[in-house]
């Protein structure tokens, strides 16, 4: 705080330290101004703009140099839609204090937006015109004008209040209340707004009460109607109404259940069945795929088995062949060993057991060589023994020995082996075998005496049937022929 005369910084004393002037009263004025400024600030912060304007004006009346109060007053004016009043305060503030003043910033902001300033100016003019219409009793025009103004400048509190007044005059209390509430939101402490609102609310509440009372009276007068309150609600119903609520509830439940069953039966169940069918089809398809895969596997395994079986069989055959080969070579070795020891008969028997198919070429040559030697000796020996046995009438041994000779060489001794073999069989009663060899004699040695004898024996010999076992007629037991010729063959 500075002295108003010399500008010196004042202390707590009641006299200026610079010029000595008494400053007690001055200090009080400044403090009062500040007090009202603070009050205006607190009111503005709670949107009590009318109260703020009042306080700030008081502050400035005490101290016009309270720049903060003046600037705040300008802001409040701007907030209630009084643009020109706001500009005035800021201009004065700037003229009183040129430096470090927020008013400069506010004025620059307004000047930058000149179109907005022009719009606000137009709204002010229209508001003034609307006020004129009201005074001229042209309320409809005033209403229209005010609506335009408020659409362009919604912060104009006076506009809301004037429009609300017009609606109150027309009895449109709801509309009036709407605009009054808007004005109350901008300036909450405006006494005019509050007074109008009180009036409007009172009227509206009174209407509601009147309507309620009328309704109640109307219902009371009507004997067919009864009314009662249930909480905050008034329920009016005919007096003789029967309460079917329980039956209706049951019927509704039944209908609901039926609808639910129909929905389930026609919508849900088919879809579930379809889904189940699809799942089954998929499972069947997978099973079929699995089966076909397994079948393929089985077929391939079966072919492998067949192949392996063939291989096994081939191996078996090869093994048997090897065994047969080994047996043939063993027999050949046995025959060769017997031949080396001059055991002709053993060699001959061994040779007869040799399967020449399994012998190699060299082995076959050996076999042939040994066989030829052995056969010759063996045949000769066998023939001699057979013939001797025949002469001794030992036909069994004779047939055995001579059979071996014939098996090895049919034409031995120019058919004598065959002839004596046939004779032996005949004497033994084996006519079938005898006939066989007699026939060979006839075929192989025609024109010989032995062939003629053979033919004779064939003609006279009764070949038995299968059931006959008796002796044959005309078959002498000795070796002589029926014509008396000797059967003894010369020994060669």
């Amino acid at each position: 705080m500075k002295c108003m005369y010399c500008g010196a910084e004042l202390t707590r004393d009641d006299f200026c330290p610079g010029c000595g002037t008494e400053v007690r009263l001055y200090k009080k004025i400044i403090m009062t101004s500040n007090f009202y400024y603070n009050e205006g600030l607190s009111r503005a912060s709670v949107r009590n703009l009318s109260g703020a304007i009042d306080s700030l004006n008081k502050s400035l009346r005490y101290n016009k140099m309270n720049i903060q109060a003046r600037n705040l007053l300008g802001l409040v004016y701007l907030e209630v839609g009084e643009m020109v009043s706001a500009l005035s305060e800021w201009v004065i503030s700037r003229s009183l204090q040129n430096e470090h003043n927020d008013a400069e910033r506010y004025l620059n902001a307004i000047q930058k937006n000149s179109s907005k300033l022009e719009t606000i100016n137009q709204t002010i003019k229209k508001y003034n015109q609307a006020l004129q219409y009201c005074r001229q009793d042209s309320r409809d025009l005033a209403t229209l004008q005010l609506k335009k103004v408020l659409s362009l400048n919604p912060k104009l509190v006076k506009g809301h209040q004037l429009l609300a007044l017009l609606y109150i005059q027309e009895g449109k209390y709801d509309a009036a209340r709407k605009y009054l509430r808007t004005a109350g939101k901008i300036d909450s402490g405006n006494t005019l707004t509050l007074r109008y609102l009180k009036e409007v609310n009172g009227v509206l509440r009174g209407d509601v009460k009147d309507k309620k009372e009328k309704k109640e009276k109307k219902h009371e007068k009507n004997d067919d109607l009864i009314s009662y309150k249930s909480g905050n609600e008034t329920i009016i119903q005919p007096a003789h109404v029967k309460d079917y609520s329980a039956l209706a509830t049951i019927i509704n439940i039944v209908i609901g259940v039926a609808i639910g069953a129909c929905i389930t039966g026609f919508l849900i169940v088919p879809s579930i069945r379809h889904a189940a069918q699809n799942d089954a089809n998929v499972a069947v398809k997978e099973a079929n795929d699995t089966i076909s895969t397994k079948n393929q596997t089985i077929e391939s395994l079966q072919s492998q088995i067949d192949e392996l079986t063939g291989t096994i069989n081939d191996a078996k055959d090869a093994s048997q062949e090897s065994a047969s080969q080994m047996a043939a070579y063993e027999q050949l070795l046995t025959a060769f060993a017997a031949y080396a020891e001059n055991k002709i008969e053993e060699a001959g028997e061994a040779l007869s057991g040799v399967n020449t198919e399994y012998l190699s070429v060299a082995a076959k040559n050996i076999y042939d060589s040994v066989n030829a030697s052995v056969n010759a000796q063996y045949i000769e020996t066998a023939y001699q023994e057979g013939h001797t046995a025949y002469n001794q009438r030992n036909y069994t041994e004779a047939a055995e020995k001579l059979q071996k000779v014939v098996d090895l060489e049919e034409s031995y001794q120019n058919g004598n082996a065959i002839y004596y073999l046939a004779q032996s069989y005949r004497n033994l009663g084996e006519n079938v075998k005898a006939a066989e060899y007699y026939q060979k004699m006839v075929e192989q040695y025609p024109g010989t005496e032995r062939a003629a004898n053979s033919q004779r024996y064939l003609n006279t010999m009764d070949l038995p049937d299968e059931n006959e076992t008796g002796s044959e007629p005309g078959a002498p037991e000795d070796g002589s022929a029926e014509d008396g010729s000797s059967d003894e063959a010369p020994v060669e």
């Binding site: 108003m4 002037t21 009263l25 001055y26 004025i29 400044i30 009062t32 101004s33 400035l60 009346r61 005490y62 101290n63 016009k64 140099m65 839609g81 009084e82 643009m83 020109v84 009043s85 500009l87 005035s88 201009v91 004065i92 300033l117 100016n121 002010i124 003019k125 508001y127 003034n128 006020l131 009201c134 005074r135 006076k158 209040q161 004037l162 007044l165 109150i168 005059q169 005019l192 007074r195 109008y196 009036e199």
Partner: protein, 46 residues
């Protein structure tokens, strides 16, 4: 009960931008400090 005419009288026209200059010039900025100064001067002369 609200009297429309009486209430209407309370509504005054707003200042337009063109009127701002005159309003500023015609503004009486005398405050309590000015009055105090005048009083102090009067006392000194006395």
């Amino acid at each position: 009960m609200i009297d429309f005419e009486e209430e209407l009288k309370k509504f005054q026209p707003s200042l337009e931008v063109e009127e701002a200059e005159d309003a500023i010039y015609n503004r009486n900025l005398t405050d309590m400090t000015d009055i105090l100064r005048e009083l102090m001067k009067g006392n000194e002369h006395a």
